[in-house]
Symmetry: C2
Subunit: 474 residues, 2 copies
Amino acid sequence: MSLPQEVQVINVGLSRFADAVRDQGVEVLDVDWRIPAGGDAELVAVLGRLYGLHSRAIDEANREVVRRLDEAVPVLVEVAPAAGVIPGLGERAVLHPGPPLDWEDFCDPLRRSVRAAVMAEGWASTLEEAERFVAQGNVQLEPANHHATVVPMATALTPSAPVFVVENPQGGNRAYSPLNQGPGKVAWFGVEQPEAIDRLRWLRDVAAPVLSATLQGVGPVDLFSIAAQGLQMGDDGHMRTQAATNLFVRHLLPSLVGLEDPRRVEVARFLSANHLFFLNLGMAAAKAVADWASEVAGSSVVIGMARNGTTFGIRLGSMSDRRRSRSQAAWFVAAAPAVGDALYYSGFGPEVGAPDIGDSAVLELVGLGGAAAAASPAIASFLGGSMSKAIAATDEMDRICVSPSSRFKLPFLDFRGSPLGIDVRKVVELEIAPAINTGILHASEGVGQVGAGVARAPLDCFKQALLALDEFYH
Amino acid sequence: MSLPQEVQVINVGLSRFADAVRDQGVEVLDVDWRIPAGGDAELVAVLGRLYGLHSRAIDEANREVVRRLDEAVPVLVEVAPAAGVIPGLGERAVLHPGPPLDWEDFCDPLRRSVRAAVMAEGWASTLEEAERFVAQGNVQLEPANHHATVVPMATALTPSAPVFVVENPQGGNRAYSPLNQGPGKVAWFGVEQPEAIDRLRWLRDVAAPVLSATLQGVGPVDLFSIAAQGLQMGDDGHMRTQAATNLFVRHLLPSLVGLEDPRRVEVARFLSANHLFFLNLGMAAAKAVADWASEVAGSSVVIGMARNGTTFGIRLGSMSDRRRSRSQAAWFVAAAPAVGDALYYSGFGPEVGAPDIGDSAVLELVGLGGAAAAASPAIASFLGGSMSKAIAATDEMDRICVSPSSRFKLPFLDFRGSPLGIDVRKVVELEIAPAINTGILHASEGVGQVGAGVARAPLDCFKQALLALDEFYH
């Protein structure tokens, strides 16, 4: 018997072996196979059950979750003070991003933002007073997520602050988000200087009434339709919302221009200079559909993902047959990660970047942000400048998601739908953590945003969620 | 001697031969080589001279032309009645698109547009009167291009109509275009119904003064900067200008909103509903840089390209050493082509489409429109729905252009510059005609736009231009 003259190799797993063969001039077909769950015996057993015995029930639940994420049409209906519209909001409530957290554990930018909000609310007249006021337990610190609300970056939301009210007619539920505070020295970037406090008051006293009157002349606004158009125009819908903001502003234009109120001019100037104005609108829309999806029991699809700058948490939907109150759903938390693949403003670098913060990761749950990286040349610039990297980022999200979005289309991928429905089973099996396109705040000096990049959700949250799901099915 | 066991084939030229070999299971490497200029002996000889003996002079001229096309920064400075700003405009001038043409040869949509403009101007009170007024020689029909002006589709421009004034500080020249008339029953689409005439009057009496006041509060606007951003947001800058329009509107917003004039509301409504508002601005900017480039003598780069629905014409720059008046430059004309790769509105088809019309092809000269097809998912839908077709369209333009634009970047091609400077030598040698992204009007019934598609410039114009350039160098 003689050796064959030609060799063709199929390599399964580590590419190092393939490289060695390839170096000898032999063709190699790579199969990217990894030991599931990094070889953790308990997780492998759990995956065996959740992909095996329980797969039919889980897949069915997932289909319904994804249907809700995909089909609901959330609409902006009004702008109003938080106190008047957010259910169960206490008189001294301060809503913060991410999972629940004690004041002692709040990160620096979020502490500053809370103090600024307390000042704007009139509960204190100096930052020192504000600090004491909070430290002495005079406010109720609660996750915004527990009140059908989402807040971006280090936003702290108090009762008099205005919010967008977003309705999901299909689900009969509502969700809320504050008005975006704009660029510069602003509290949502962890700044507590007088300008930041003034901006909060201006949003409440000037922007909110003008926008409220403007919206009355416009009627309900289909937010995901605008976000979907944005994806055809270079937005990822999270880090970049410029196209959607322009479309939204154009939609408001005739009504805004028609107001008699002379303050319309200040508001127009603010809108004209704020590329991220749509961010908060997209978030509230995503929260509305995610909350509706969370009512489905026994799904492995993530319906909550948020960070407070200290911890990162995810949530699964209902784990019981009866409809549970959303605020009761468990958080699976881990330490908030640093933001990678980042570009920093001149003079700043990773050493001063705060850990990942904000509720905006709710966008990644509905097919925007990291899932839609391939839509956005702007995101490509964070990933080395080439669109192929942005496409690879979307492809990776595809591997851990249930199915493509039918409304968010990716032009660079010939209008394929963006990945929708992050499945904790796939995340744990493949050890691929969702990518979140996000801003970066200064960790300690209160100078605001210092950069932007891509954060990786901690795998540990997903492992905990997987174990809880396994328990639910036991 | 025995035949070799394996065959590899390199095929040069017609792919039919390669296909035959490929059908037998043999690998074939295609080299896309064609007989230059289709084998026309005279043209081959001319190409020999213009690529040989005269190549140094031509390449040097081309570099300067392309530098001007690439580096000039045209800015919008004001909105004013045509009569007050366009040089050499007669009291009874009617500027039309494309090369010079006798009234008898005007196509149906352009005739209607002229009659509507004559009515709006007050020179006639019925369409019949307007027809007689023109037919009896009471107006001076002149190409807009002869007055540093460009008009899209079937626009007819009369002295009282408002125009954008665009300044090119580097060249010390100005260019002009009318305000875009918007969608629907409008004269620039060949409609002469009362609504179309009312729209012309409204643009003059309402939109122009409001926009003029708005611009005073804004200062000069860098138009190509906006167009370049538009290319990052799905515009090709010709058939689709939605992103640029939104950016422009956002730029005007604070000033427009701040006007006391109550007519600001009508104008806001008009802007908000007109995706093509930026089209005319991009055209005037392109005309400003093309006119400056046209002063360079002895270049093979096209600096004028326009259609009147009957003929299609291109122009080269100065053919003498002294600076010639732009209006004197020769047109090289052929019959206007049909628009191909088209999508028609429901109920219409190619049989009712008018031939290619309008001065908007000036955009293709500066790297927009057909050259930037790869920027635009919307254009892809005209080319079969796949981005690869849009990319192929840009790649083809690349083969007949001098160099990539340094300001118009194509995100789908990893930010490569769009093709700039159409070289008549390459067009004739390769027999690749420039592609022009454009609308389609009804050929006979005055019902307006019936579709949109991609027109191919007639090769014969380029052959004539090549012969003229050869004569210049003799």
